[in-house]
């Protein structure tokens, strides 16, 4: 039993002794010490992102007819002011539309006049409820029909040609025309995105997404505004704040961005970290000794590793040169 205890104590002592080496034992090895920095976060590896817009942020422009010719007057994705001409619609269908609008207006006027005239009669119970219901229905139908034309017509600028009109931007923002104009009666003519709704959209692993606080592009940094609380199984969706002008990004643009991971960690040069007894370690200078300290590496970039430690390492110096040789010493190597 005594032998066993002696053996165990010898083993534990030798282990302790092996993890600490006096500086004067390091001979002519090149020794370079760097301070360990405490950081609040770090950039992850670049991930793909896209300039998109928040759902519902787009003002969709539709036309109640299909003109023969549609000329887009502004470049796709360009910023437009409210009321700025976006499209020129030409052809007989424009003329028909205008005629239809005038007809509808006349019909509405008739229905409106009839409605106003019969309103007094209804109040005086001079007409029957059935007659009044018919008048009101007719009035509402014509009003609705006219409103359909009127809303579109609000952003229409007529010309001296009755077969041509201009369509103006309903709001300031970015105009995005469709890839191709369809053939349906209720024609989609594109959308104007409000600048506030244009953001970077990216997908990150569910494990990291919640800790990502901002996104860096080559030209700007954008805070993460929204993180979806659901996942497709592996990834969750993130939205940044609205794009800043200095980002110089265009809607639909795809790019690589660097997510900034918010996590309190230590930072040290890559050459200072080594694997020892199945765990990553660093060699910390304390007085005239260097001590091997276990760390948990959570990330690395071109120059540095970011790691956690059970001990407070801030401000300490870490060995960043000849680390492999010192590891050899820890393993009992050296000599002829």
């Amino acid at each position: 039993m005594k032998t066993l205890i002696a053996l165990l104590s010898l083993l534990s002592f030798s282990d302790l002794a092996a993890e600490s080496i006096a500086l004067d034992k390091l001979g002519a090895l090149n020794l370079d010490f760097q301070p360990i920095k405490e950081v609040s976060g770090f950039d992850l590896k670049p991930v793909p992102a896209q300039v998109s817009y928040l759902p519902g942020a787009a003002y969709q422009i539709t036309a109640p007819f299909r003109p023969q010719q549609i000329d887009v007057l502004v470049s796709a994705g360009s910023a437009v002011a409210q009321g700025q001409r976006l499209l020129r619609l030409s052809g007989s269908e424009v003329h028909h539309f205008q005629s239809q609008y005038q007809s509808q207006k006349a019909l509405f006027d008739v229905a409106s006049e009839r409605y106003q005239n019969n309103l007094k009669l209804m109040k005086n119970n001079q007409i029957s409820a059935g007659q009044w219901q018919q008048i009101v229905t007719e009035y509402q139908q014509q009003n609705m029909a006219l409103a359909h034309f009127r809303h579109f017509n609000e952003w229409v600028e007529t010309t001296n040609r009755d077969d041509q009109i201009y369509l103006k931007a309903p709001q300031a923002g970015i105009y995005l025309p469709p890839d191709a104009f369809g053939q349906s009666e209720n024609l989609y003519l594109g959308e104007v995105l409000a600048a506030e709704g244009i953001r970077l959209q990216l997908r990150l692993s569910a494990l990291t997404a919640l800790q990502v606080t901002s996104i860096s592009t080559d030209l700007c940094v954008l805070a993460v505004d929204r993180v979806a609380q659901n996942s497709d199984g592996y990834f969750v969706e993130l939205w940044t704040e609205a794009l800043k002008p200095e980002c110089q990004l265009l809607p639909g643009q795809q790019l690589k961005v660097m997510p900034h991971y918010q996590n309190q960690a230590y930072q040290a040069p890559k050459d200072s970290v080594f694997d020892y007894q199945g765990q990553m370690h660093i060699l910390v200078k304390q007085n005239n000794q260097i001590n091997a300290r276990p760390v948990t590496v959570i990330h690395g970039d071109q120059k540095y590793y970011y790691f956690k430690s059970a001990e407070d390492l801030s401000g300490l110096l870490v060995l960043s040169d000849s680390v492999a040789a010192v590891k050899g010493m820890l393993l009992g190597m050296g000599g002829e």
Partner: protein, 1021 residues
Amino acid sequence: MLKALVRFALTQRLFVSVLLSIAMLMGFLAWKNMPIDAFPDISATQVNLIIKAPGMTAEEIEAQITRPVETELLGIPNQAILRSTTKYSITSITLDFTEQTDIYWARQQVSERLQGLWNSLPPGISGGMAPMSTPLSEMFMFTVENPQLSLQQRKHLLDWQIRPALRTVSGVADVNVLGGYTKTIQFTPDISRLQQTGIGLEDIENTLNQSNLNGAVGRMNTGTDSMIIRTEGRMHQLEDVADLIIYKNNKSYRLSDLGRLSVGQLTRYGGVTKDGHETTQGLVVALKNSNTAQVVAAVRDKLSQIQETLPAGTDINIFYDRKDLIDTAVSTISSALFQAIFLVAVLLALFLGNLRASLVVAASIPIAVILTFYLMQQFGLTANLMSLGGLVIAIGLLVDSAVVVVENTVTALQKNKHLPKLHLIYRATGDIIKPVFSGTLIVIVVFIPLLTLTGLEGKLFTPVAMTIVFALLSALLTAVTVMPVLASWMISQNRSKVPKYLIKVQSIYQRSLKKILLAPRWFVTIIGLVFIASVVLFSFIGKTFMPVLNEGDIIIQLEKVPTINLQSSLQLDKDIEQHLLAEIPEIEQIVARTGSDELGLDPMGLNETDIFLTLKPMKDWRYKDKNRLIDAMRQVLLQYPGINFAFTQPIQMRSAEMLTGSSGTVAIKVFGEDTQVLAQLAEQISHQVKGVEGSVDVQMTLIDGGDYISISLHNELARQHGLTNQQLAKLLRIQVDGEPFSYTIDGKIKTPVYWAYDSDLGERPASVAELKRLSILLPDNRLVTLVDIATIKRTVGPAIIERENGERFSVVAANVNDRDLVGFVDEIKQQVSQNINMPEGYFVTYGGEFENQLRASRNLLTVIPLVLLLIVIILFSTFGSLITAGLILANIPFALMGGVLALFISGEYLSVPASVGFIALLGIAILNGVVLLSHLQDIRFQSRDLLTVIITGSADRLRPILMTATTAVFGLIPLVLATGPGAEIQKPLAIVVIGGLFTSTLITLYLLPLLYHRIESRTKS
């Protein structure tokens, strides 16, 4: 018949002269055309397989490649040993065949079996049979220096300009390129783009490989002509690859739209540094059996031709040229040879007192030497340290027959002036031709044991023995044909005075012999005491296999922690190089090689470095010898703790590796199955060896220490997304290490196209955490991170697996300093058996030079008794008396005691060369005995007084006996005094012979007459 030969020579003197001239011419031409090397070819018939399996661990390679290949190879007949070393990404399998196996047959056998097996080995592997070279074939090394060029450009020069040119040189097996970066075209796929487009990696691979080729169409007759038609699609450069169009879902994409194309470099498995800076190295490997000196000269010629075509400022810095060693070693031996010839000629003049006679005898040396060259060429021997050393040893012996013939001729001519000169020469030669013949025959016979040596010692000493035999035969032929002819022309019948000192010596000898014959007790007592002393001292003499040849260069082997990466390993190398250069001004330049070479001939790990030191001439040194210089270097290296180091030399390192599979004088191998147990046992043995006195450079194969990150795919998820292990491995390989999938050809330059991520841009993962976050595009076009679909954990496994004849082993290698090898190994054996418990199924073997020494001793102990028997038969046929034969043999042990004393006094070890010295001594002792006893028997009945007969007869033979002894001694003195490379191997031999000749001559001159007197007195009574 011998007399008839003498008569013919004397009657046909002109004819003999013409024949001699022709023989001289042929001998001279043979010397001019003889291949010259530093060492004889000591390699066995060996076939080496090198198979590279990128990304595979040692255990996986062993299971999937090494074991199946070994199983297949084990069936090949005539094999001696099958060894293999398996490491990360590479396995090297070496099959040694028995002696005399034809190398081409052996390679064909291996090739056939490998071909049959190749398709069943894992995909993606490359390699096969290594060039037909030996481990000693690395005979020319250089670095390519040009500060204007990047490492990649310098390697490009080596790969595509220098290497192809040097490979055209006859005798060059291959040119190994080390260090630098290999240019690749690198495609880094943008996973998000691939996901958007639905294009998979295999779509890109297929499209590129189908587009990147020139198709053969055929011939078209155009009028009276025939035109060859082909389709062109071969890509030549990066831009061609970038423009590749990939069509998917009715849309076209350019390859450059799907990722980043750039110029990259292959993952490196090694590097080269020179004086603290990275560089690139070329290593010329000579073909087995090629003429090294000629190959080196041709390589130098070719390099000077290439030099003009290289970019301005490019310097080919040659730091190792085997020819330097060859020249130095051959010059050491040649100078010893010329000095020996001069000394022997002077001695002859002094002894004979007749300048003309001495010139006649001296002429026999060059004649015999030139004839020996002719015989060497006819028997396929090369000129090297060993064969030329044999010639130097023979110088002292080959004049013996000529001395006896000429001395007898001079005596006869002086005694019988009235008879015709030719008749006297014929009679004088005829009288002694029988003992001369049998004496030479006996000396030849004593060298027979050397011809029976096997293994390394056989390869080293067979040329020595053969050269000596050729020299003695040439000398014998010269003595009985050329000597009488030359004597007839040059020696006059005028009485020449016997030198006064010789008369005085003869008279002293006669007086002392008479005293001993009358009162032998004190003499016998002294001889007996000296004999006993020599027997006792013999046990104190250290024993070793072979003295270490000083090659002039030094190699320092470094071993760092097994998991070190290349960058850190190279940085430590650079630090050490700069420190050595600063502290040791004797170093001219340092070239260090870390990790594996491109061909894989020496698959070292990233933690292993061979530092090659080129030294300044010795006159510029602060130290007297190399050992002191090494001590100074040792002090520098000891300042780098945590790094193992050892000193060796280029040929020494390769010979040791070839013989034992590891470098070290003693190699202790532990066999067993579990690598962890093997590692523990090796550690324990290493600890024991370090504790044994005299152990240096104790090194252990770091069998344990391979750290792995194991990734296990979640089977359910994998099936759900259609992902297999193979696909995952490929996807990870692309992101971690890169993988080739095509190549471009631009003229003669072939550039691989790689899937790869750029490590310089930090795109490759560098921690487990990053590995977990790695993006993986699944076959169903879904993007996930690795940790979503797999478990990642740390495991440990063997970094290296060594096998011998199908069994795993670990090895502890050590060198011995200031101690005899056999005693050292005996002590290790004792320590290991006492202190280490071998688990069941595990066992230890002891090898290395120690093994060779045991084998050599066994061989010699078997053959020497047979040789002695043969000598007895020869002596019996010469004297017709077993007693006389026994008398001569009884002389031998006393003769050998001088050799023992000389070894002890000089501090040299008993080695194979020393043993050869004892064998030579045996021959000389017998020869002297024959010379004396044959004369005593001839004059036995000239007087009734036996004492007078013995004293007169012995005095008559004093001169030839002293002449043979002193010529042999002075012939060997240059070897003892020589200091250049090559001298250390022949030195123990020369010391033994010189020491032995002193006692042997004394015994022949005093003990032999005494014994003869005793025996004859009894017979008479």
